[in-house]
Amino acid sequence: MKTLLLVSLLLCLPAVGLAQAKRGAPPKKAKPASANQRKIFPYNYTIDDLPNGLRLVTVPADYPNLVALYIVVQTGSRNEIEPGKSGYAHFFEHMMFRGSRNVTPAQRDDILERAGASSNAYTTDDRTVYHELFSKEDLDEVMRIEGDRFQTLQYAEPEYKTEALAVLGEYNKNSANPASKLFEKLRETAFRTHTYSHTTMGFIKDIEDMPNQYQYSLDFYKRYYRPEYTTILVVGDVTRQRALALTRQHFGAWERGAYKPTIPAEPAQTEPREAHVEWPSATLPYLAVAFRAPAYSDENKDKVALDLLAAIAFGTNSELYQRLVLKEQKVDSVGVSFGDRVDPELFTVQTRLKKVEDMPYVREQILATFRRYTTELIPQQKLDDTRSRRRYGFAQAMDSSEAIAGALAPYLALRRTPETMNKLFALADSVTPADIRDAARRYFMDNNRTIVTLSQGTGRQTANKEGGK
């Protein structure tokens, strides 16, 4: 725990000073700290690049016995460029559990069982991540079976078809939730060219066609399951020497590929868009208000400026939240999502209303909040509190080897180095209230906007009324 303690001291120095400043007092200027003091990712890490393009990131941590292994592949639903192939990256993730040349699924399960491992995988727009958590003595064996499936995956068409049904089962279990449908509709409406127009799960018609696409699955593997798309992350009770030796041993012979996808760019939006979902059974009404917004960047301030604004304008401590959720109690939650994506993403505010009659009012309140910050400057204290919140939030989340690996994986998919986190938080520290207002001005324009509503039966008339401009 030595590292942890030290880290915490370094991490929070600037934030603490600010957080203790009294309300109403003139904002204290944060003492300039050295770059090192301000690092949000406090662990010592090493990066090793193999000649085939594979990258290994090793993070020794003081939590004993366990090792978290995350294998991050830079492919996701963003890479599903052919028509009819939405949902494929996620489906392919399932196929990675269907056996390889030297390890059958049963052998794999047996090895992981004896390792007491927790093992899984997930897919998002931009990445597919395979992860295991297990006792350190099993690292060699787990790396061996991972190396094998990344290089020699092998499954027959019948197993492929069976797995396609499990994916349909996954769609089915999600389908009971209206929020899933709202999100699907929002993506489809806001994006018309770019692959973000479909969710990671994919369109149902494409999921139903998956059993017929065996050959495409093999192509997908050949394209993306290559060392140059992959970063191996090892966190926990481990040394760099051991992690590197095992990576060379089990992944060293992996052949580099040559495929580079052309992801279609989304043209500029020229008009506000709206859509409505009629839900067949009882539900409370939902509303999502989204604006086209920037991609992840650790260099350009716009993305991180809007991240800060997201918490200030729409977080649980925002005026909007306090009015709609706590005082007027017209909605039961206000949520904001604005993920770090490779390509420009939506800045989305979503809410669930208690009564459909309140839809025009709530919608106008949300739109007015967006408008407000295109002209109004955020108080310095609020901005400083928000930065403090981000730092503490991050520090509090990293409470185990797995949590560290889980927090790091998205950034490795974006930039292949933990350093991007440090750059991002340093960039956030340089953002001024004027930067935030200017970013809001650039992105929160009517012609960047998409609104989607969902309600049972007859919500449409009220839902579609135009709020203020």
């Binding site: 725990m1 030595k2 303690l5 915490s8 929070c12 934030a15 957080a19 939590y63 366990l66 996620h90 399932h94 559990f97 399960d109 047996d110 069982e113 004896r114 390792a115 007491g116 927790s118 093992s119 899984n120 997930y122 897919t123 006792s135 019948p158 078809k161 069976t162 396609a164 049904l165 349909l168 089962g169 996954e170 089915n172 279990k173 009971a176 209206p178 929020a179 899933s180 999100f183 990671t200 799960m201 059974s281 009882a282 409370l284 999502a288 401590n317 706590l326 005082k327 039961d332 999502s337 993920g339 669930r352 208690k354 928000t386 403090s388 919140r389 503490y392 509090q396 409470d399 185990s400």
Partner: protein
Amino acid sequence: MRRIFFITLVLSFALSTLTAYAQRKSPRSKPRERIKGPVLMHTAADPDAVLLPNRSPLITFRILFMTGAADDPAGKEGLAALTASLVSGGGTRELPFEKIQEAFYPMAASFGSQVDKEMTVFTGTTHADNLSRYYALISRMILDPGFREDDFTRIKTNLINYLKVSLREGNDEELGKEQLYNNIYAGHPYGHHNVGSLSALERITLADVREFYRAHYTQANMVLGLAGGYPATFPAKVKADFAKLPAGTRTPSNFFTPKLELGTHIDIIKRETRSTAISLGFPIDVTRADKDWPALAVVVSYFGQHRSSNSYLYQRLREARGLNYGDYAYIEYFPGGMFQFEPDPNLARQQQIFQIWIRPVPPEQGHFVLRAALYEYDKLVRDGLSREAFEATREFLSKFSNILTATQDAQLGYALDSRYYEIGDFNGYMRDQLSRLTLEDVNAAIKKYLATNRMRIVVVTKDAEGLRDAILANKPSPMTYNSPKPQEIMDEDKIIEVYPINVRAEQVRITPVEQVFR
């Protein structure tokens, strides 16, 4: 397994494990054979605290009250949940809730509550830098709650909407599981959802909440859980502060194992939905405190380890046949399993059920899959585990407990539960018990606890009448696949497609979804 991460568009309606219920009944009929663990986490000097000091910069609180939904008065089901939610999600007498949120904001702090049948726990984590400010807020929230009218209205509406909308109309799997519990514990203190029932929630007043708080938030009921890098003097300060609570008395309750009517009973919830969710199970008179618990833990891990492809059921139903997304089994309450991989602690209970969770299947395969689940269950009871399966599962579990307790918060939660069950440190306890366990113990435990002629089944589906009629007529439900299957599967399907479910008409009920949680 293989979860998919959408953007977090999903609004956070999952009040996850809030819940509910109770009246006291006669003590259990036979004394249990308990295991006393070697190391108890609380010391004689501190009988009402579980303290796990370490050098982490984070400090975790789990402030536990031995009260819960089983203490809800009749007709006021949901009172324990509403009280806890008002304490953790409402203002204090001094500060309105928005001021508390404002103070939490720069610390990235939060404070939450979880209510189960016998336990209410308040949880939060802070960085050591903020300990005094954070503690000042949460201690006031518990010791001096505001119980304001506007907070009450907001939280009550949230709880009602959680049952009425989020659960009833947005999550068929959880709906089926909770209805299974409600059916098994009908007429029992555990017999309603932890969040309550809709009609009772409507009736609860702020005066009821005050009274519940006064009666149950007492020193006698409280156990302080603390972990992390807090100062050595901190626990004493907390204890002194919490001495402001009324002393109270702790009257231990004994909750009986429900004696269900003989035979299989099926409840089909009729709802407009594209798939069919299935849960089945029955009560077992075994908890973590009992000698046979580790044996049953091996059985369910083998048969249906949560969200693991190593689960036997998963292999047979999903992996070999592609029927759905996963199939698992449990001997402890595990709400929100679709959202998480490890169970939450502090859901300790005197009474548990054995449960099989079949994730949604296409409606036309619902009858076949229900038969398959019963077929596999019968096979488990008949054949038990093989030596190979036993040894592999035992090895898995003795290491897996490290994963269950990988975070400080989990360590603290498990330690509190170990205190409740009077076993030692959970990891040590599991390793020790598992190392002594034999295949014969495990297979004997299956015969003793898992053989039932009182199975309870809940199905959520659209064509409730069609399914009911097919079940009552024992109509064959042949399976077809989109790809060739091994002969062994085809042969087994021939048995499953006509596998009898012996129920009479009065044992199959259709419940319109609007009536659930009334």
